[in-house]
Each structure stands twice: as structure tokens, then as C-alpha cells.
């Protein structure tokens, strides 16, 4: 039968993704070593899980690393499969994981590039490298509120233009604003948070 619907257990909220390091005997793919050599400081962390390689890149190196991955002949990641974000609210170093799923049509290999950002940290937009990122970044902005700097058309895409709040965040209620929207369209989220705090007290 259905689980307890909207309210997940308040205790033990996970603090971050599980990113197991690759075992010592795993062969690091050539494109990752190329990236490590090509753009120094770009690989902050490397992870291998279920056959997928994930590279954590600091925000400052994102554009350079992406350009390298796109242009370098050994990497040739010309296809941006997906661009999404995950919200880890209690995490200290930044609540959002912005994840880029890259694929190379030439070499047929995949890599996941991850960037960890705080709520208001701008992330450089990769639309100049992969035009496919245009709508994908718009959706991440719409759903999470991640600020993509340099995006040609930074607007909401799925929600109405004047919507308040970022629905996919963990602190956004599943049932949405409800009647609060009717009372006070602009500040309904603040109203709700104020009411919740009042309830707790």
C-alpha cells in the first residue's frame, strides 16, 4: 500500500551522495587522465559506481574542463545527454549537485561531471559548448533555482513565468501552495514557512 505520503521522516536526512572511490585496481579511463593532465585542478574527486565514472569538478574549473572534454580528441564528448541537479539541503559545502551526463558519439564512452554549489553560487552556463544545455539549464533553474551565469535565456520553462519558489527543492511541499496562493500570490512560500514555524512553537 502507499507509504506515508508527503512528510518524509524528519530524522536522518541524507547529507550527500554516496560516491565510492574507484578500487585501486580499476583502470582509470584515458579521458579522465587526459582531463587531469589537460586542465589542472579540474578533478577534485573521482568515483566509480556500477560501471559509471563520475568526476567532481570545482565550479571555477567547470567551463574549462567542459571545453576540454568537448574539444580534446581522446575525449570528444560532443553529446550532452542530460543536465540535472540533486538537492542535499544539509550539506555544508553547498546543497546542490549539478550533474552533466556526457557521451561521445565517436568513442562511445560516457562520463558524469558533477559540480557542488551552494544556493546562490552562480554556475557558468555550458550552452556555448553544448547548445543542448539551453533548455536543460532552464529546467534546473526552474526546479531548483540554480543560477546559471551567461545563459542566453534564463527563464522558467515548466512552471508559469511568475511562479514563486523552486518546486523540486526538498523544502518545497509536495502539494504545492494550495490556498496560500490565493491569499498572497507573491509571498506564499514565506507565509508557509512562517506558519510552520508558528506551529512548531
Amino acid at each position: 500500500m502507499a507509504d506515508a505520503p508527503e512528510h518524509a521522516p524528519k530524522a536522518a536526512a541524507p547529507t550527500g551522495p554516496v560516491e565510492p572511490a574507484p578500487p585501486a585496481d580499476a583502470a582509470i579511463p584515458a579521458f579522465i587522465t587526459a582531463l587531469q593532465n589537460g586542465v589542472s585542478g579540474s578533478v577534485a574527486q573521482l568515483s566509480l559506481y556500477l560501471g559509471d565514472w563520475t568526476v567532481v569538478v570545482p565550479v571555477s574549473h567547470l567551463l574549462q574542463a567542459s571545453q576540454f572534454l568537448h574539444d580534446n580528441a581522446g575525449c570528444a564528448f560532443d553529446y550532452l545527454s542530460d543536465l540535472t541537479a540533486v538537492d542535499w539541503p544539509p550539506r555544508a559545502e553547498g546543497r546542490f549537485d549539478v550533474i552533466y551526463m556526457l557521451y561521445s558519439t565517436r568513442h562511445r564512452h560516457r562520463v558524469r561531471v558533477k559540480v557542488k554549489v551552494a544556493e546562490n553560487t552562480p554556475v557558468p552556463s555550458v550552452t556555448s559548448i553544448w547548445p543542448a544545455a539551453n533548455w536543460l539549464e532552464r529546467e534546473v533553474y526552474d526546479m531548483f533555482g540554480v543560477n546559471f551565469s551567461g545563459h542566453p535565456d534564463r527563464r522558467r520553462i515548466l512552471m508559469p513565468e511568475d511562479w514563486q519558489g523552486y518546486p523540486q527543492r526538498k523544502d518545497y511541499p509536495l502539494e504545492g501552495p494550495g490556498e496560500l496562493l490565493m491569499e498572497n500570490p507573491i509571498d506564499w512560500l514565506k507565509l508557509r514557512q512562517a506558519r510552520e514555524e508558528a506551529d512548531i512553537e
Binding site: A8, P14, D52, L80, L158
Partner: protein, 366 residues
């Protein structure tokens, strides 16, 4: 002396040819489209957020509702991603039946595509013929899982029930019927002079540009890029199947049409091989009663009729719901290319191009 300005026309959310609630704002110079802006979100139901509050088995029926034209494919994509997270092996019999169902679904989806595309361009009879064949497929699905559109036909680890006796004979009989019907559609359209004039040279996009724009599926293959997840990263029983991937040359609407028509035939080939070779065995693998994958995240992609359908699922190892459920919808990424395709063409071509990209709004908006 005369000041001409651009006309802005709204191809509104309610329109017979946008195949769903899609809004396209066109800026016209006379009859030429200068620019197009696509507005989506009318069918946004928050499936990703809903899934964070449903347990792993319940999400299967949410995935039906995204690409409702090819629901079995979405089911399989999700189940395979969770099976990857759980590290569970799906028995070969289930793999084969899944492959048959997915290829049947591909034919059904392409039937709907050819019918609506032809109808938008004016050949209304093809619509009725294609739906007649789609009915046969829907009957097969109904016999298997009881539903015609939203199947909920996959479980994590396999299938909820085995195929009914005699079902594989019916599938083979259907394949024989379908061969002749594909020829029927081709007779009506492929060498028809008016069809050629309406589709050749419309919406040309080159391979590298299509890759950059993130197009996938037949829209990408029509431009000459041989990218098919079934061949590049085989899943289910595709590694054991013998089939070709049709690739276009010029990247116009006619090539995308030819690619999909050939995909019909290749799907029939796969179905015949799979049906004739279904191994015996269990229909569901060893899956724990309460599904709780270990903490971790993964991305898995399959080839839906529209393109690369990917699922990115994050599990936190403790709760019975996923932590993050992300669908990479092929129609969303393909629709992104519409403004680029439509630029420079006439208003009457916009409808042909929307049909050529083959979108399902349920998937675009989720």
C-alpha cells in the same frame, strides 16, 4: 516608404496539429518564419517530485504516463535502472519478452507518428490505416497485461506475469500482417510527388549540429549520425538480436520519415527473432520483498521510439523511496531543436516539422 513589421502569431496550446498542449509563438515576415519560441509546461504534473514520495514499485505506473504512446518502453527503462542499482539479474526469458514488448511498442508509436504526420500534411487516410494496425498491437498488450495505453507492465526484476499461452503465435501472425501494411503506407506516401514536395528539404540539420543540439532518436539518425542506444550500449536482449539501424543522409523531414519507416521493418525483424527464440525459465528475478537499493546513484539509458530515454536515480539507502528521480526525456531534447529547424521555412512547414520531430507532450513536460 512602407514600414513592414513582423507578424507574431500564436500557435496556441489548443491546436489540432500540435499533438498535445504545446504553444509555439511564431514571428513571421510575410509567410516566412523568422523565429519561433516554444512554450511548454502545460502538461507538467510533477512526476519527478511525486516519485520522491512513492516507493520503488509504485513509480512504474508513473512512468507510463510520461510517454503515454510508448508506455512499455518507459517502464522498462525505469526497471532496468533500478535493477542496475539493486544489482539484480533479470532472467533471460524476461529479457526476451521485454524486448518483444518494447519493439511492439516501437511499431505502435511509429504507427501513431506516421498517421498524425501524414494527416497534418493532408493525407488523412494514412491516419486511419495506421491506427487500424495500432489496434492490433493494443490487443496484444491487452492480452498480456490488461491495459491498452498505460500498461504498468514491468516489475523490478522482470515482469508481473508470464505471457499467456498462444500469445507468441499471435505476435508472429501480427508480424506477417504488418509487413504488408508497411508497404501500404509506403505506396501512399514514399514516392508521392506531393509528399516529396512537402517534406524534402524541409528542416535540414547537419549531423554535428544535431549532436550539439542534443537531438536523439530518428531525428538524429536522419541527419546521418549512427547513434542508437540499442547498438552502442546494448541492454535487455538486444545484444543477441540481429538488426540494422537505418541512418538518413541529408537530415531533412523526408529522411526522418524514411528512417522511421525502415525502423518499422527492423522492429519486425527483432520481434520475429525474439519470439521464435524465447528461452524457458522464470519470468522474474530474485528481488527482495521490500526494494531498497544501496545508497548510490546511476544513469541508464534505453532507446525509446522517440530517442534516448535516460533515467538518473539517486538512492539514499535508507528510505523506501528514491531520493531523486530524474527522467531524461527524448521529446524534450528534440523539441529544443524546433526553433532551429523552423527558421526560414513557411508557416505551413511548422506543422510538418512538429510532426517530423515526433514529440509526446507528456514526456516533454512530465
Amino acid at each position: 516608404m512602407f514600414d513592414t513589421s513582423e507578424l507574431v502569431i500564436n500557435m496556441g496550446p489548443q491546436h489540432p496539429s500540435t499533438h498535445g498542449v504545446l504553444r509555439v509563438i511564431l514571428r513571421l515576415d510575410g509567410e516566412k518564419v523568422v523565429d519561433a519560441e516554444v512554450v511548454i509546461g502545460y502538461l507538467h504534473r510533477g512526476i519527478e517530485k511525486l516519485s520522491e514520495n512513492r516507493n520503488w514499485t509504485q513509480i512504474v505506473l508513473l512512468t507510463d504516463r510520461m510517454d503515454y504512446v510508448a508506455a512499455a518502453t518507459s517502464n522498462v527503462g525505469y526497471c532496468e535502472t533500478v535493477e542496475k542499482l539493486l544489482n539484480v539479474e533479470v532472467p533471460r526469458r524476461a529479457q526476451y519478452v521485454r524486448t518483444i514488448l518494447m519493439e511492439l511498442q516501437r511499431i505502435a508509436s511509429h504507427c501513431l507518428w506516421v498517421g498524425t504526420h501524414a494527416m497534418d500534411i493532408g493525407a488523412m487516410t494514412v491516419f486511419l490505416y495506421a491506427f487500424r494496425e495500432r489496434e492490433l498491437i493494443l490487443d496484444l498488450f491487452e492480452e498480456f497485461c490488461g491495459a491498452r495505453l498505460t500498461y504498468n507492465s514491468m516489475r523490478i526484476g522482470g515482469l508481473p506475469q508470464d505471457i499467456p499461452p498462444g500469445w507468441d503465435k499471435k505476435v508472429l501472425a501480427f508480424c506477417d500482417i504488418m509487413d504488408g501494411k508497411i508497404d501500404e503506407y509506403e505506396t501512399l506516401l514514399t514516392h508521392n510527388r506531393i509528399w516529396l514536395e512537402r517534406t524534402k528539404g524541409i528542416g535540414v540539420i547537419s549531423g554535428p549540429e544535431a549532436i550539439g543540439l542534443g537531438l536523439c532518436g530518428p531525428a538524429l539518425r536522419g541527419s546521418g549520425v549512427a547513434r542508437d542506444v540499442r547498438k552502442d550500449e546494448p541492454y535487455s536482449a538486444y545484444a543477441e538480436m540481429d538488426f540494422d539501424v537505418p541512418v538518413g543522409v541529408q537530415g531533412d523531414t523526408y529522411d526522418r520519415y524514411l528512417v522511421r519507416m525502415e525502423e518499422f521493418r527492423q522492429s519486425l525483424r527483432i520481434i520475429r527473432q525474439a519470439t521464435q527464440g524465447i528461452p524457458e525459465g522464470p519470468i522474474v528475478g530474485k528481488v527482495p520483498r521490500l526494494i531498497k537499493p544501496a545508497a548510490g546513484e546511476t544513469y541508464h539509458a534505453i532507446e525509446s521510439p522517440k530517442g534516448e530515454l535516460g533515467y538518473f536515480i539517486v538512492s539514499d539507502g535508507k528510505s523506501t523511496n528514491p531520493y531523486r528521480f530524474r527522467v531524461r526525456p527524448p521529446s524534450f531534447c528534440n523539441l529544443q531543436g524546433l526553433p532551429r529547424l523552423v527558421r526560414g521555412h513557411l508557416v505551413a512547414d511548422v506543422v510538418a516539422l512538429i510532426g517530423s520531430i515526433d514529440i509526446v507532450l507528456g514526456e516533454v513536460d512530465r
